[in-house]
């Protein structure tokens, strides 16, 4: 049974509701985007360099940089505001000393360059220390300016702005393994961009019907395959997954493969379609599996088997009898994310009441954990929680009717190599770390 112990537990308070969380490829940087359009980047401290086995104070994440990525905007044609909320952040693979990330709101994607400066030139001939121009008569000799170390400064600059590519709301961005292109998906279309070209993009999927009145299905998420640069997957509000091969045709309206689970007639209700809508899709690190999240379950799909998932895990089946209330208060439309661990052996997703769930694929068992910090215990083992659904009631069990539906864990990320997870709970960011097993299991 997979256990995550948190000997190290950091929590940060962010000013606004966090809307996305993402580690970079090494896991040293963690970026969060929020509803106010700001991005906060955390960096992992590496104090004990060269002693990777040392279990010391190293490995804590501290705020590295903060910047305003998107501002509120206005669409004059439709007389509608465009929210500055950051929907997704994706890091580019690192190629030099600087780090690059893509951040997007509903309409515009931006490429940001994050670079450090820890030296500055000193000893100019024509300027003094404060930058004022010297009186030239006081200059009696020439010298070469020298680079001197200075306090670390992190500079973040926008390098590209990919605008006007989307009529509908962007829900996903995904960087291609080719390192040159990325895709952005909105409700009805998916575009492919080149990272260096901002004035045009290539439309690769378009499911907009000729008559909008015939619209019954939208795109909910999309992602490139981690290794095959021609493959990508997108999910829909009807619970289908479509794998597309860009070598087959320029416009990938026709899928290569469609993954769909036949409906269970025994569980049919008016809400069947809504709860089958896929809110997130992620390729496994191996590229062999897909992980999807719908309202009540997470499912693992094998790319070689289209007729149904290979594994299904119940996240909060006890909500099935409450669907009407959840429809009324709109909770049924909440979009939960799902993530793989580094070895694809554990999957994780969020729930309500600040709970999140982890499933061990080898044993098939799941555990419920709570993203919450007890003030008296800054470092403690994450408590296992339980929702009471019948049978013997244990101490600490939470009743279904006591669940707080405003405390939803929608966004989360898992470190690419280690057992470190970042959980966003409204304005709180929690970072849990498994110190007992610092390496992968």
């Amino acid at each position: 049974m997979y256990k995550i112990n948190t000997n190290l537990f950091l929590s940060f308070f962010v000013a606004d509701v966090i809307s996305t969380v993402e580690f970079n490829q090494t896991g040293d940087l963690l970026a969060t985007g929020d509803k106010g359009g700001r991005v906060v980047i955390f960096q992992r401290e590496t104090e004990s360099k060269g002693e990777s086995e040392e279990l010391g104070e190293s490995g804590e994440y501290n705020v590295y940089s903060t910047f305003q990525s998107h501002e509120p905007d206005f669409d004059y044609l439709k007389s509608l505001e465009i929210e500055e909320k950051i929907n997704k952040i994706r890091w580019l693979p690192q190629q030099n000393a600087a780090h690059f990330l893509l951040s997007t709101n509903d309409k515009t994607i931006k490429l940001w360059k994050v670079s450090e400066r820890d030296k500055r030139p000193e000893g100019y001939n024509l300027k003094d220390e404060e930058g004022r121009i010297k009186d030239i008569s006081t200059v009696t000799s020439l010298r070469v300016p020298v680079l001197k170390p200075t306090d670390l400064m992190v500079e973040v600059r926008p390098r590209r702005i990919f605008a006007n590519g989307h009529t509908y709301h962007v829900n996903s961005i995904s960087v291609n393994s080719d390192g040159e292109t990325y895709l952005s998906a909105d409700d009805l279309r998916i575009n492919m961009w080149h990272l260096d070209i901002t004035d045009r993009s290539f439309n690769i999927v378009d499911i907009k019907p000729a008559n909008m009145e015939d619209l019954t299905e939208v795109i909910t998420a999309a992602e490139f395959h981690p290794h095959h640069c021609q493959l990508f997957v997108y999910s829909s509000s009807k619970g289908t997954l479509r794998l597309c091969d860009m070598r087959e045709s320029a416009l990938c309206d026709k899928h290569s493969k469609i993954f769909e689970e036949p409906e269970d007639p025994g569980n049919r209700s008016f809400f069947s379609e809504i709860i089958s809508s896929v809110s997130d899709v992620k390729f496994s690190h191996s590229g062999r599996y897909l992980l999807t999240r719908d309202y009540l379950t997470v499912k693992v799909w094998d790319l070689n088997m289209e007729k149904g998932p290979v594994e299904t895990y119940q996240v909060h089946e006890y909500l099935r009898s409450k669907l009407c209330s959840l429809y009324e208060n709109d909770c049924i439309f909440d979009k939960f994310e799902c993530v793989w661990n580094s070895t694809d052996s554990v999957i994780m997703t969020g729930a309500y009441n600040s709970f999140f769930r982890m499933f061990d694929r080898e044993t098939g068992r799941g555990v419920t954990l709570e993203a919450w910090r007890e003030n008296s215990k800054p470092r403690a083992v994450l408590r296992t929680r339980r929702v009471y659904t019948g049978g013997r009631r244990r101490r600490g069990d939470v009743g279904v009717d006591s669940l707080d539906f405003t405390k939803k864990i929608l966004h989360m990320a898992w470190h690419p190599a280690e057992n470190i997870i970042a959980i966003a709970a409204t304005n709180n960011l929690y970072i849990f770390q498994d110190r007992v097993n610092a390496e992968n299991q």
Binding site: D75, K78, L80, E81, I82, E83, D106, Y168, H169, D187, L188, M212, E213, L215, T216, E217, V218, T220, S237, P265, G266, R268, S269, F270, F271, E273, I274, S277, R320, S321, K322, L323, C324, S325, Y327, E328, D330, F333
Partner: protein, 288 residues
């Protein structure tokens, strides 16, 4: 949405019905009632679009699909058809009804910017006033009808698949607004209003004023303030049900008559009911 303590009785009138079928009929009517409530709730959800930010398309599509599903089931049951049949003359052909209703919903002021609430056209909803205004305003011919009946759109949606031939006519008559024609419901409301046009006109006249000055929030708050938690029984009913039980003749009346002074009147032809009911509803909305 259900006000407290006004659970309606199943009136079986003159017939003698056995206990079993009585229970069955009660269950059926309860189901249809709650299905109706789900329909009403869905339609309200679709209307409460934010003015400032574009509404979530995924959510709108899912809600619209749910509405379609309910309507399909109601059609399948015959309850939808019976609802509309009850109001129009049985001799009318669908196309005639559609044409007639389209005329009703044409805006009097052609130059007025169409304040659309098109459900099916997802091109961005505009916020509309109190839900009740929609239905009732759309009935009157003489008053401003820039607002199109929301229910009409939904009805029109599923209708499209059945009456594809009629579509051509509708679209020919269409004005600049999105979507097309209406369904039988508007016609029925028109039928009701012709009985006492003057009074109806007066009633809707005040709605016109209400419509022009946007102050929806407080009115909506008032309307929804007495939501009863017993409403949550819908969960067990609707999620547990697999198929709609066969409906008896009285079930139609149950779903037809206004349940209470609730704002859930978008989809059923409330105009058929007493003007007293309308006055009552109006009082709530206007807050007098």
């Amino acid at each position: 949405m259900f006000s407290k303590g006004t659970k309606r009785k199943f009136s079986d009138g003159d017939e003698e019905i056995s206990d079993e079928s009585l229970v069955g009929a009660r269950v059926a009517s309860s189901y249809s009632l709650q299905r109706q409530s789900l329909l009403d709730m869905s339609l309200i959800k679709l209307q409460l679009c934010h003015m400032l930010v574009e509404p979530n398309l995924c959510r709108s599509v899912l809600i619209a699909n749910t509405v379609r599903q309910i309507q399909e089931e109601m059609t399948h049951d015959g309850s939808w058809h019976m609802v509309t049949e009850a109001f129009c003359g049985p001799g009318q052909s669908p196309s005639e009804r559609l044409v007639a209703t389209e005329v009703l919903c044409r805006s009097r002021e052609q130059d007025a910017e169409p304040k659309l609430f098109s459900v099916i056209s997802y091109e961005g909803c505009r916020e509309e006033e109190v839900v009740a205004d929609e239905t009732l305003c759309s009935v009157s011919v003489s008053d401003t009808v820039s607002n199109v009946c929301l229910a009409g759109r939904i009805g029109q949606c599923w209708e499209k698949s059945e009456l594809s031939g009629v579509e051509r006519d509708e679209e020919a008559l269409e004005d600049s607004r999105l979507g097309s024609g209406e369904d039988e419901e508007i016609d029925t409301e028109d039928g009701a209003s012709t009985e006492s046009p003057k009074t109806t006109g007066q009633v809707f006249g005040t709605f016109e004023i209400k419509n022009s000055s946007p102050a929806p929030d407080s009115a909506l708050e008032e309307l929804f303030s007495d939501v009863d938690t017993s409403y949550y029984d819908l969960d067990t009913m609707l999620t547990g049900m697999q198929s709609a039980p066969k409906m008896g003749p009285y079930d139609i009346l149950d779903s037809l008559a206004p349940s209470h002074s609730s704002p859930s009147i978008v989809s059923t032809p409330k105009c058929r009911s007493d003007l007293n009911e309308l006055d009552h509803i109006m009082e709530i909305i206007v807050g007098s």
